[in-house]
Assembly symmetry: C2
DNA sequence: GTCCAATGCATAAGATTATTATGTATCTTT
DNA sequence: AAAGATACATAATAATCTTATGCATTGGAC
């Protein structure tokens, strides 16, 4: 079962930043696969969502890129900048608090 | 501190449905105030977001409405339909699971 | 050796759903 | 009398996703 796409909205940037934090440098396709695996197939990041997001993170100076060639195929690696490292902490903290609030609001018992 | 609006996206319908479940019948303004109170001012539902959402829930047959007059002032009460009662269970369960997945993905420790 | 699936990037049209602004009107408090 | 709270609603705009499309390389199956 895949989570309905509305839920991903608003958390995608946070997920991507956190993956970069945990893995140092990653390329786009790798991020989709890693998140798919970690979420047991329940979070599917589409390319149409991912690439614009990565470009936005770069435009905001939260990540830096390096291009590598594997044979003739291009890979664009992304890595957190210093401000990106701060941002991921902020974002994850905010989401953690938000989830606590939602748990209370929705009367959800902890598993 | 108010949660950034991106986080609300995708959870607003669930919040509204759950409030209706917990309180039987409610009118729009009441929902905004109740959520504001329960979230300690951290979730602010704007009218421009709420009313279209309520209308959509009604169009989907998840809620029924009754209009009441308090003096000359109109109040439109919303109440879950039978399919709305099923829907709220689905939505809350999905969100609960999603939050567990996110907690794992983002390496968040339980408070 | 050819074809399909997977890998890898990217953008564009369209849909969804929020923000912000605006409008109307009543009621309460100062 | 004025301001703020109550109460509904819609429209223009913005953000951000889905879906579709495009291009190109690589690996495995047949």
């Amino acid at each position: 079962m895949i989570y309905s796409s509305e839920l991903i909205k608003g958390t995608l940037k946070t997920i991507v930043l956190q993956q970069l934090k945990q893995n140092g440098k990653m390329y786009g396709y790798e991020i989709t696969q890693k998140v798919k695996e970690l979420s047991k197939e329940r979070i599917a990041i589409t390319e149409g969502a991912l690439y614009p997001t990565l470009h936005a993170l770069e435009a905001d100076g939260l990540v830096h890129t390096e291009t590598e060639y594997i044979g003739k195929r291009v890979r664009k690696y992304y890595r957190l900048s210093t401000s990106g490292e701060n941002k991921v902490l902020e974002k994850v903290n905010e989401l953690a608090e938000f989830m606590n609030t939602m748990k209370f609001l929705l009367d959800i018992k902890t598993a």
